[in-house]
Symmetry: C2
Subunit: 136 residues, 2 copies
């Protein structure tokens, strides 16, 4: 990913301390590997949107099949206007896309990276839930 | 995952409206497929922790190799006490684990689900960044 390249200056700019490194080689290696703030901001922004239980529930439902605002309102147990509000936010973040069928607008997940994203987060949550050790 | 099973009562409890479904079959199917609030809360909690740029930057660095508080402070450009605070939070969420080497404590990613989680989130962010359409 091009957002990784040529960021040594960017990382250097951020050093606000004059601490001596414990492992100078690790610090040098990680400076090259560090992602740009731009990428961090985008990814953190996506995680932030996914960090809301109502939005996450909507996305989990859409993992299974496309759904309209009315049916999502019934399933999530909130008003249609509350769902519409969340759908606008999810659409702005490009997490969902729309398809019109007659007078009904169906929402579905916007890209195929979201299903594995949820699966991995769920596997992590499952480890936490059952307090399991990591496995290979 | 067992957290999915036997949740029809749970979903039913949440219906606060008496809206008529647009697609009754979809609503019935999605009621069975909906995850439990417990799972949603755990996964949303994980995403919420990942939604902070400083914490996410620390985790991205740890994707590459284990690192101690001092070296993370140098790389992220904040104080050691700020890093220690975030590490406690990340450890509580079981996102990082520790290993002592002499007097130094090294942090690393807690489970192998986190690397693919970041990769998928990054691929999604990359789509958004470059405004690309979804690909198969």
């Amino acid at each position: 990913m091009s957002m990784y390249s040529d960021n040594s200056e960017h990382i250097h700019r951020e050093i606000v301390t004059d601490l001596a490194p414990i492992d100078a080689e690790a610090v040098a290696a990680l400076r090259t590997a560090a992602p740009l703030d731009e990428l961090i901001a985008l990814v953190a922004g996506t995680f932030h949107v996914l960090g809301d239980p109502t939005r996450l529930k909507i996305l989990y439902l859409l993992l299974n099949r496309p759904c309209c605002v009315r049916d999502l309102a019934i399933l999530v147990g909130v008003s249609e206007s509350a769902i519409s509000h969340q759908m606008r936010l999810l659409k702005d973040r490009q997490l969902v896309k729309t398809r019109r069928e007659g007078t009904t607008i169906y929402y579905s997940l916007a890209d195929h990276h979201l299903a594995p994203l949820f699966r991995e987060a769920e596997s992590h949550a499952d480890h936490v839930y059952h307090n399991l050790p990591d496995h290979p």
